[in-house]
Every structure is written in C-alpha cells, then in structure tokens.
C-alpha cells in the first residue's frame, strides 16, 4: 500500500510549507529593496506561538477551541489529494480534486464560525468577507479544474497526475487558477497578509482572537494550504509525468516539484508587488475575470487545443 508513503509526503509537506511563505516574503522584500526577515521567520513565529500561553474569550464555545484542529486536520487530509511529490492518495481512490475543494470549505466553514464565536465585530466581519469571497472563488476554481481534467480526457480522479503535455486551454485554465490562488492564499489584490488594519484584513480578522498554540496551528494550516494550491497550479501549468516508481525518477520529480514551487512563489511575489489591494466589491470583478478565463479555456479546449 502507498499509505505510509502518503503520510510521509503529507508530513514533509507540512514541515516544508512555512518555508514557501518565507520565500515569498523574501522575494517581496528583495523587490522592495528591503532587508526583510529571514527565510525561516515563519518557523520562528510558529515556535514562539507554541511557547506562549493561550487566551480564550469567555463567550467562546467548543467550536472556537476545536477549530484549529479541524482546520489543520482537514488540510492534512487535503494534502493527500494533490500530487505533491510523486504520488497522491487520489491514486488510492479516496476522492478527486473536487473533494479537495470541499475539504478546504470544511476548514473555512469552521474558521468562519470561530470568527463569529468570540463575539467581536472584527471576527464577524472577517467571516462574512471570507465567505463572500469564497463563494465567487468556487465556480472559477471548479470549472478551471474540470476543463483541465476534461481536456486531458482522463477522469476527474487524477487529471493532474497524468502527463498531458502543454495545451493552450490548460494555460488559460492555469491563468484562472492563478487568480483563484491569489484569493485563496489571501494575497494582495484580494486580501493582504501584511496588515492588521481592521478595514482591510479578511483572513487575519478571523484569527484575531486566537493566540498561542491554536494560532500556531492555524498559521501552519494556512502555509500548508498555500503549498497545496501552488502544487496544484504547478501541476496544471507544467505537467510532468509523475508517478513512476523508480528511485531516480522520484528524486528528479521531487527536484522538479521544488523548482515549480519556487517559480510559483516568485510569480506570486511579483504580482503582489505589482498590484494594489482592491476594494471588497471590486473583488467580484477580479474573480469574474477568473471565471471568464475558465469559460474561455473550455471554449478553446472544445476546439481541440
């Protein structure tokens, strides 16, 4: 069975995920001509949170206490669906990319509830906006993945682990998915990770009442989720025959994977530098564009390209 390997893969991915966030920050700081924090700063943050005491609001219920576990747990489960290095549990028939999206919405659902649970207006605002953005992300993401899957004429189960060659429709779908990734990883035109200004934050607003180890869990989950999105994007943008069994090719795949993630991180960093944050109600335009690209990808794929 592949399950031990999958667990190993999920473990490595979770451990490596903060590095990706650190790298994106390095890219941004380099472009801004700033010294910036070290590459391993996310690890330091997490380690620090783990040592801190935790303060829980007196109005909060068990939803608030369990949410970090649910969010990170569902992300861990989601890690088994994507071709991170060379294999995915979707090969074991557990589900497909759609189930991955649904797993993300499980985490988001609980996080939004936890945002409301402390009774502060900030959390509620964050929840409301997060769910708002998520509703417009979903159609674009589902359709983009469906088009790629249909074009490679494989099943939805593993559209991404098969070699399919580069195609024009796949590229356009990747453009759509890239915008989705910006929204889902709370990056600049949609959200801003670097601010704690009450009028602009979305994802951070939901985490506002968290502290200590719970916050560490939620941050880890956010890093891991970002890694999952990047690897999904990488797999669509630049498919590579993944899944061969010999040791050497596994190493090659892993190296190639790292390269793809680095590229994604650089592009995301560049985009974040180049764009300004949008007003909340213009985000619908942004995600509408993403959806349109998905439709366009479908049209092009229908013509056979």
């Amino acid at each position: 069975m592949k399950i031990p390997l999958l667990l190993l893969q999920a473990g490595i991915a979770v451990l490596a995920a903060p590095l990706v966030s650190g790298f994106v920050r390095r890219v941004k700081n380099a472009l801004r001509m700033r010294q910036g924090a070290a590459l391993v700063q996310p690890y330091r943050n997490i380690a620090k949170y783990m040592r801190k005491e935790e303060v829980v609001s007196e109005t909060a219920s068990w939803i608030f206490r369990w949410t970090p576990s649910v969010v990170l747990g569902s992300t861990l489960a989601a890690l088994m669906f994507v071709p991170v290095f060379s294999f995915s549990l979707s090969a074991a028939g557990m589900g497909d990319v759609l189930s991955l999206f649904f797993l993300f919405s499980l985490g988001r659902f609980f996080l939004a509830l936890a945002g409301l649970d402390a009774g502060s207006a900030f959390g509620g605002m964050g929840s409301s906006r997060e769910m708002f953005i998520a509703s417009f992300v979903e159609p674009a993401a589902v359709l983009a993945v469906a088009v790629v899957a249909a074009h490679s004429s494989s099943s939805a189960a593993e559209p991404l682990v098969r070699s399919m060659g580069m195609s024009f429709s796949g590229m356009i779908a990747a453009a759509s998915l890239f915008m989705v990734v910006l929204a889902e990883t709370s990056r600049i035109p949609v959200d801003n990770q670097e601010t704690h200004l009450e009028l602009t934050m979305i994802h951070e607003a939901m985490l506002l009442e968290y502290s200590g180890p719970s916050l560490a869990m939620l941050e880890t989950a956010a890093h891991a989720k970002q890694l999952i999105w990047f690897s999904l994007l990488g797999a669509i943008l630049w498919p590579w025959p993944i899944g061969s069994s010999s040791g050497l090719s596994a190493v090659a795949c892993a190296a190639f994977f790292v390269l793809k993630i680095i590229l994604c991180a650089i592009v995301v960093g560049l985009t974040e530098i180049g764009l300004a944050k949008m007003r909340l109600f213009r985000v619908t335009d942004f995600l509408g564009l993403a959806f349109l690209f998905s439709v366009l990808a479908l049209v092009v794929s229908g013509l056979g390209y």
Binding site: S57, T59, I63, G73, L116, G212, V295
Partner: protein
Amino acid sequence: MFFLSQNSRWCFDPLALFFLGVIVVVSLPSLLFSAGYLRRQFSRRRTALATGLTALFVISMAAVVASANLILFLFAWEFMSLVSYFLVVFEHEHEASVKAGTIYLVMTHVGTAFLLAAFLLMHAQAGTWDFEGIRTAAPAFPVGLKNILFGLFLAGFGMKAGIVPLHIWLPYAHPQAPASVSSIMSGAMIKVAVYGILRFIAGMLGVPPVWWGSAILVAAGISCLVGVIYALMEHDIKKLLAYHSVENIGIILLGIGAGMIFWHWGWWVLACAAFAAGLYHTVNHAVFKGLLFLCSGSIHVATGTKDIEKLGGLIKRMPQTAASFLVGAMAISALPPLSGFVSEWLIFQVFFAGLRDAASGGKLFFAGMMACLALTSALAAACFVKAFGVAFLAMPRSRAAAEAGEVSLSMRSAMIFLAALTVALGIGAGLVWKMLCAVAASFLKPPPAVWDGLLSGSWGLIRFPGTDACLRTPMIMLALSAGIAAVYAFVRLVSRKHSVTVGRTWGCGYYRLDHRTEYTATAFSKPFRIAFGFFLLPYRKTEKIRDSFYHVKEFSYETSTTPVFKRYLYDPVVGGLFRLAQYVRGFQMGSIHWYLAYVFVTILVLVVIFGRP
C-alpha cells in the same frame, strides 16, 4: 367507486418504495418530535388534533406515492394538499398563518388544475386510468401532445416542489406550520412532487426530447441560485430553511434534468447515474432538512422567537440541539464526509461527464450548470455560517435567548436520530449509491449490459460510472478524524505546561463588550446584498429625529430587499385578475329578474345551437 374496481390500485415498484422510504424516514422522527413539541405549545385537545392531522398527512403522502392509477393519485394528491393546508393554518389565531394558508391553497389548486388537465389528456389518448396501461401507450402519443403534457406536469408538480418562480407560497407556508409539520412538508411533501416528475415525465412519456432536460436544468439552476440568495437575506430561521428547500429542489432537479439529456443521447450509464444522483440528494435533503426544521422548532420552543437576530449563545444552553443543527448545517453546505457532500459531488461528476463528452454548445451549457452548482453550494455554506454563527455562537442578544434551556428528551432524540442518519448517509455512501442506481435503472430500463457499469464498487466506495472517479467517504472520514485527533493531541502534548486563560474579548478599550457590538446577521449578509443588488434591489430608509441641528436624539435605520417575484410577476397577475373581476361584476346586478333573464337567454342560445336536427 369505479376506480377502486380497476385491477391496479397500488404499485410498489422500486421508485415508489424509495419515496415511501423517504417519507417514513422523515415522518417518524417528526412525529416523535411533535410529541414533546406540541405539548409545550398547545392544549391537550389541539395536540391530539395536530397529531391526528399529521398522521393523516403522512398517510396521504404515502397513498400518492403508492397509487397506481390516475384517479387514485389525484384523490390522494388533493387530500394531501388539503390536510397540509389545515396544518399550515393550524395556528389560525395568527393572521400570518391564515394569509400563508390562503396563498398556499390558491397556488396548490392552480397546480392541481394543471395536473388534472394533463391526466384528462392522457386518459383521452390512452383510454385507461392505469399507470401501466398509459406507460405502454404513452411513447406512441403524438409529439405535440407529449410536449403539452410535459409543460403541464412541470408546472403542476413544479408548483408543489417550489421551482422558481412558482416557489412563492413555500417561504410563507412552511414556516407557519408547527415545526414537526414543516419538517415533514419540506422533507417529504415537496419530494412527492419530485416523485411526480420522475413518475410521469421520465417514467411514462418515453425517451424525452433534449429540450425537456434543458428546460428542467435551466429551471433548476435558477431555483438553486434564487433560493440560496433569498435564504441569505432571510433572518427568520424557518423562512431561511424554506428558501433552502427551493435551492435543494433545484439541486435535485439538476441531477434529473441532466439524466434526461443523457437519456436522450443514449448514454444509458450516465443517465442512470444522473438520476441516481438526483435521488441521492432527494433522500439527503429529506433527512437534513427535516433535522434542521426540527432544530428550528426546538429553538422556537426554548426561546419563543424564530428571529436569529434575537438569538445567540445557544450552544452553551442547548448543546445537543446545537450539535444536531451543526451536523445539518454541515450536510446542507456539502461539507465532507456528510451526506450532502456525497450527493453534490455526484452531481458535479454528472456535469463533468457532460462537459467532457458533449458537443460544443452542450459543453458550455453543462459548464454553466456546474458553475451554478458551485456558486450555490458556496453560498449555502455562507448562509449556514450566518445561521449557526448568529443563532448559536457568541453572546445572547435577548433575554429569551439568555434564559433558554435544552428541550425535552423526545425532541432531542428525534434530532439526534436524524443527525446520525445524516452521518450514516455520508459514510455508507457506496451502499446507498448502489441501491439508488438500481432504483434509477428500474424505471429507465436500460439494456442489461449497463448494469455492470453501474454496480461496481463496494459499501464504502463510489465508483462513478463514466468518469471513473472514485470516492471513499469512510477513508475521508478516517483521514479527517485521524488528522484532527493528531493535531489536537499534538497541541495538548506540546503546550501541556502552558495554561489556557479565559479572558474577555478585546473591546477596543471599552469597559466591556455586550451583545450590541456583535456582528449581526444583517451585517453578515451585507456583501451579498450588495453583490446581488441587481437582483435583490435593496433599499434603505434612514430617519433622524433631532432636538436641534447639532443633536440627533434618535436615529432609525431600516433596510430591506425588494421581493422581485411578488412585485413584478404575481402582483400584476393578481391585479389583472381583480380588474377582470371588476368587469365580470357588471353582470352581477343583484336582481333576480336579471338572473332569470340570463337563464332564459342561455337556454335560447343552447337551443339555437344544439337544437337543430
């Protein structure tokens, strides 16, 4: 009575049995719930009356589903409508109930009129009242007649199912009935309309032309979106759930409509799978919507209000109700590994297959439907974050909510039973899926080779035929619970030395936060109100009462959305009817001589027309 002497009165084929099962599964817990619920609300005599009516209601639904000839069906249907009307107006001391009941009665009778017309047409053509007889005769009906029959059935059953724009009665009538009855109405009665669509349109008229399926899909897609957007705007918990019924009927019909298109194209396996996916959502929706309505009844009993803006913090005072509601909310938001997730995943697979294999225009159509479903499920999740978060979490917003207590054992056990069933329908998906494929195949009657494609997979595994996508819900459940447990254990282990302090929520320097600073449901739904403003047409009124120019004594703010369908569709129609009535009133002189003259003239005219040899 002549129709009882016909040789086929009842039929218990797989389709009927499935819907009987759905009715029973929802009704029994609801009856159990009503034992505790009604006693808290009403006197002993009225409790007995309500229980009796509910029992009659359930029996009439069962009779509709099991009847095997048109007249029996129509009698049972009408009986069901009437009994449910009495249940809607059960609290007749409230004016709202009577008004809702009237709307319901009018709408349901318009629907029945459509059905009656369709049945008479069928009888005239086939010469029999039996389903079986019509079934053999119907494929040979002329095409024009078939199309008319399709329209009549869609309108008639759509009225009962609450397809947009025929849904208008649903958010009035469902919330007015006692909660146990709303649960049955939303869980079972609108499913009877789905049964009607399956039985008469898919099961009798033969292979459908492609526009039937497309029409159903378009209606379903609109129902999904309209239902869920209105639900987001709604803060009365029962009305919110009623709008979600509109949405979920849409999702069910998405499966059925796609199935009809595939059937037309001769894709037997996918057609069976699409119908089965629709049926899967039918049973899921019955269970979780029944559950949610029962929970709303518990809230109503415990706090005396249905307005979620007046609730809050109930999770601490009603933990079991809260947990049950959470399960229902997760299922309706399609979160893994619960039941709603499985059926929506299946319908996504149906559309994926359509998108992949259809020709160019069809591709776009299925893609549109897929996007529609994705948007709907995400909006539903937002809506239930709102409903659960505002009603159950944080601080109570009223004294009633602060003093609420857990409800009685019979009510709790009914809710917990349905919650357990929701989980079971998710975990045991493979088993349910196989059964439903068999049901779908039983009335589609595909060639035998198709069966093998349908029935692969085991109890824990769905292998979607056509796309070869697999879903193992027990594995997902296992992965999720293992992940959650591992994280929880890890945190507890690492931070064992560090304490958890309970403190106040930071109030930006104010001494103490109270419920007035909490985020409200209205505020939560504001982004949606603005984004869908082109359809909801929101408006607001602000009013300042001033002492002087500088000092505002009171400030009132009111915001609401325009009921588009009522204002731009129903009001003109009703207005037109009234104007017509005005003309007709010209004949009503109130004088007996005039009436005698009418009779005389009528007889004369009849004699002139028909009296000639």
